[in-house]
Symmetry: D2
Subunit: 348 residues, 4 copies
């Protein structure tokens, strides 16, 4: 059965796996002190145009979020996020488990609006009872968001300016950053991200790695003894090479961006197919996740032949579902999907 269920249905991009094979028998130091991890960091610094960036590799996205948020926040602080942010919805309370509140803001298609952020911060300090409240200590954004949408360079610049005026870090969850950066029409580059965010991570798990995220501190702001804080959260891989080698491969020969381009071009084709078949979109997504609205009977038929994700009930008759592309999506997958949808149209 073909799958558009998510962007992590396959293993690693073949070039990534090839490097794991080639380096497998080398005796290397543990915990990220191996030469491949060093090399990967150097390549990421270069790609970010951020020569002083400090980088650590972690195994997964929720883990990265909880490690960074709990290590950076001070005791009296929480993290601002869109109500729909991954940390507020789909991480099983991982941030709260570290003792910090997620301060949820209204969202617009998954994004925090700069104006809303500014108002929140102003209102907080205008409220005389604020010492009894959780201080805003960081702003979390995802880019692309959980709805596949992207911040414009202007929006990102505004968020960054607001954060800096309040001396709180802007943190970007880049689980799907590769897809966001290669989206048609985006005006945000990786160096922009590194310049405007104080902390961000470059997602590997959803962009061609078996596992792994590259966490980047852009301005000498990596917490002291950070390795110990990672260990304390059970997040320090003994074989740090596993991430190091993979990211070294992803940032060689433009591979990370190549993966992004492929997923975006297949996603554009996917959009065309849905348009041609008259399947309505829930929102306009410029990245590798497409949200469409299906009727109950459409869902029933489709489910038997292709995997996709439930998103939310729209009403009694309709459901929002997600189709995702990735480096592993093929022309065959798309052709097959179009065929199924034709058949399905015929039947319905």
């Amino acid at each position: 059965m073909i799958s558009f269920e998510n962007d992590y249905v396959a293993g690693a991009h073949p070039q990534v796996l090839k490097r794991l094979m080639e380096t497998n028998l080398e005796s290397l130091s543990g915990y990220g002190s191996d030469p491949y991890s060093e090399s990967a960091k150097a390549k990421i610094r270069k790609a970010c145009q951020c020569p002083d960036a400090e980088i650590e590799f972690l195994a997964g996205g929720t883990q990265t979020n909880l490690v960074v948020i709990s290590s950076v926040l001070r005791d009296w602080e929480g993290v601002i996020a869109a109500k729909t942010g991954h940390i507020n919805v789909h991480e099983a309370g991982a941030i709260e488990y570290t003792g910090h509140k997620v301060l949820a803001l209204p969202h617009k298609e998954g994004k925090i609006e700069p104006e809303a952020l500014k108002n929140y911060l102003e209102s907080f300090y205008a409220d005389e009872t604020y010492p009894h409240m959780v201080f805003p200590g960081m702003v979390y954004i995802s880019h692309p968001t959980e709805y596949g949408t992207l911040y414009s360079l202007k929006e990102l610049t505004q968020l960054s300016e607001i954060c800096r005026s309040y001396h709180i870090p802007l943190y970007m969850d880049g689980a799907r950053l590769g897809y966001g950066l290669m989206s048609n029409g985006t005006d945000v580059t990786l160096p922009d991200v590194a310049r405007l965010c104080d902390i961000f991570y470059i997602g590997g798990t959803k962009v061609g790695a078996l596992c792994g995220e590259a966490l980047v501190f852009t301005s000498g702001n990596m917490p002291q003894n950070f390795i110990t804080s990672i260990k304390k959260r059970g997040a320090l891989l003994a074989k740090g090479r596993l991430c190091g080698v993979q990211f070294d491969a992803l940032f060689s020969d433009d591979l990370y961006f190549e993966i992004g381009r492929h997923a975006i071009s297949t996603s554009e084709e996917l959009k065309n197919i849905f348009h041609r078949k008259g399947i309505p979109f829930y929102l306009e997504s410029p990245t590798n996740q497409q949200f469409v609205i299906l009727t109950g009977s459409q869902m029933e038929v489709l489910k038997r032949q292709v995997r996709f994700s439930f998103w939310e009930k729209l009403d009694n008759e309709h459901t929002v579902v997600r189709f995702a592309t990735s480096w592993s999506t093929t022309e065959d997958d798309l052709e097959y999907l179009e065929k199924i949808l034709s058949f399905e149209s015929a039947r319905s």
Copy 2:
């Protein structure tokens, strides 16, 4: 300067303090095992018409909330509360500090609507991704709410039924319960609270004690080794008598309810004064907290002669402020306030 700042501006009700004096030199066991604590528990059980209730005394409201919520919730659960609930706003993230998320629902004048609760619970289990989310494991309500409003017996019954159908406890924060129970027109009695809630606390700090809240488990549901869990949170008083003697006094000779009645009747007079002076109300509160809207110049003048609380900015010209009555509010206080407001009207 007279004060309507809150309902804990004075010390203890004189009858409470008198009992502390009378018992002061007795040698008593610590940690709540003294006879006054036992006697207070028996009187509370009787007042609740709940002979099997298990009761412990704690020093303050935020402390009680964090102890009970973190002891009762299971690892994968969070607590549902109105967005305006005390635990969601004014406890500095105390619940999250114990590792649990507050799941915020929209509110209506501080209350959770039964329909909204039901929808939330249904939607949660209808979402296929729910194992990645925080399970709803308890419902927190405050009664009176942070806005001085009250649940009707019908609403409370509905909330209770919904909770029981999902096998999650209904927990009532009764920081100001005494004022709620004595409100004109309420149809909710203390036995109703004990029958419909699984856990609740009877507030002392804001209802005549120096400190102290009586936490009640209504149906054999006090967590195992609860004393140890209290100690673990730094909440076990060595001189447990301090709360025991006070609650023994509060539940003797109808004192707790008498305090409530006095605050409600002075609050009704307060409302009349504001009505007479043409000060608009922010909402209709049947309890001891009144929320009125002042202009900037009104605030300036008033502030010099009477203490009250800032609540929130309404717009550039107007501010919502809170006036609270308590057992210690006197006729003189009210007369003085009316005089100031006259003067202030004359000037403005």
Copy 3:
């Protein structure tokens, strides 16, 4: 029945209670911003000869320990304590509940030996794997210790020097500080404590208050937004006056020290009684707690007429028990005890 069970069997010292009475009806601001709290802080600063000390009042000892330790330690740090330290044994894991390890050192009669501390710190940094271990981030001592013993000025000076050379704070749990300071033969004064410790608390609960401990930061080292951190742990009393008024009384007219002197002199009489009766001591304690060894039959007889505390089983035949004096111990109590012991000797 007379009681030597502990030093918190009675309520408050009468002068303390008197001040609570006298100030009861005053309208005061909450959360420790009242004038009595301010006055108490000024008096404590003076008694400590530490004009810049920052002080907050908390309700109990375990609470104070967990608030200060978790607010001051950094993410990667734990707190060093004697194996017998209160935080390591009798606080139900309250420190660990805040996410920090207690690093237990061997003890000598409840005390950490400076040499042992120095070795621990040296060994820690000599171990190449230390980034995988909990960093020592604070030293906790109790004075008097859980065994009633005291640090000498020389020992305290050495501990202080070691801590400062490693840039970690020395924190003293002074639950019974008043008894330690008034002990015959001690060469440690309150200004010494304030000069050599970075943080300490002056115990009230066990030295004449209904509840309350005065937490002192000696050198501008109170954590930022500390009130919020206190609130987050459920430890902020709404009626802060409760502690403020009591400590204002304790530090007026030398009362705190007077209470200490009384308990020490009655404890010395207690020692004489045990000596005269041939009851062996478990160790030599210069403070208000005396640890003696009883046979099983002695325990049985005594238990019926006087309250004391089980400490530990020594062997099958003998048990270590504790007798404590306090401000409320009377000459009558001592005479009665001597009589019981005579009778008991006669019988055995």
Copy 4:
């Protein structure tokens, strides 16, 4: 440079990596619901002779320890471990970060003695103050221990009986279980482990996998909603196949045990080399880790040609170091080491 630094210096065993290659392009469900994870679980159940075992895969050892300990312990409980246990020393306080104390017992070459455990439990409940203390809620043992030593079947049986008589689970950290099971002379089999422990994990990271541990609950005792608890700790891999495929390979064709046998036989050769060269042993280890004592000058010379681990300073002149073998240790490595040691002997 050759390396005996630890048992995770190389990547994955070639057969493990081969299976990752072969399955790489298959579209599989995430979070451990793929068929390879299912197949691996079935094979492990069979190898354990425990048909009802519930199994989940996690990425690393510290992570597995913290997930299982914090999910299984109840609020008032801590975990008993040898003072030298990995969770007590080398996990940066990960257990305490989840809010639970590690209750450290004296050890004998890394092992908990059944008698010591029994005494501890008896003393705990004999102490009248136990409600103020952390309850023992689990026993953690490592097998092999951090010193490479092993429990005998008799010892394991005794520990199991004691735990069951107190109704607390026995949990085995099997980071190096494969080496323990294949040790010459051990009388403990994998079915014994499954029968006597309530929970254990089969280490992959140190026994041939890139990462991954198989956590086994032996008697229907996996915590409810365990996937959510794993997610809450950031430990749920999106590509669960990464562990599933690897463990499926490790438990095919006896590979896991083959890896163990190889490491044990090379370790025996290693011991012979040290014996022949007159290098003294720190203790007798029957597994893949050998602890020997080097002089300062020996260390200096050796360090330049072979990697090994610092263990601890023995005295000013001598250091305990560790040499570890694994599946990747070759005859060439051993020959080379012997040559170096000869040279080194010649020089010294």
